[in-house]
Amino acid sequence: MEKIPDQIGYLVLTEDGAVLESGGELENDERVATIITDLITLSNKVDPLAFGPNEQFKKISITYDDHWFAICLSNKKIYVVKRSINPHLAEGNTVNV
């Protein structure tokens, strides 16, 4: 997990939200762990019409101005990575309103 580019923190959780591994800014951050497990539980209930019953979400991202959280589920574990957004790379994609 430490090798992920632009990573500033990470968490590996069990399905019920217990912290297995953590590091960086998210080290032992049980508050964020609980929020994220609740968020996953909520996301399972989104629109069965637009997203079929067999269409499970494979990735959730939460984007702030200068960093974002990537959340993925694999092997019954929840992987959370906090990554910084490089302003030079993001410039081409930003929409100014």
Binding site: K45, A50, E55, D65
Partner: protein, 90 residues
Amino acid sequence: MEKELDKVVEEIMSTPNVSGCLVADHQGLCLAAKGTAHVDSAGIIVAISEQACKIQPNLKPPTVCLETEKKQCLIQRHGTITGAIYKDKA
């Protein structure tokens, strides 16, 4: 009264790859829903955006993106209003 909102929703729906659009207030009540977005999911969408705001409450509300193999659901909160856009992946 909701003419302005309808106009915005129409505009979003005319964007390529957008399959649905939903706007809800802070109580989870649906203000507008078009396309694949169902009125009933307004509550859940507001709950998701509120949950995401809790991670860093001192920062401005983040954009939440839920992804499946083929589709995407983008949720953004602005003041008391929460908007969701359902997109098909190109």
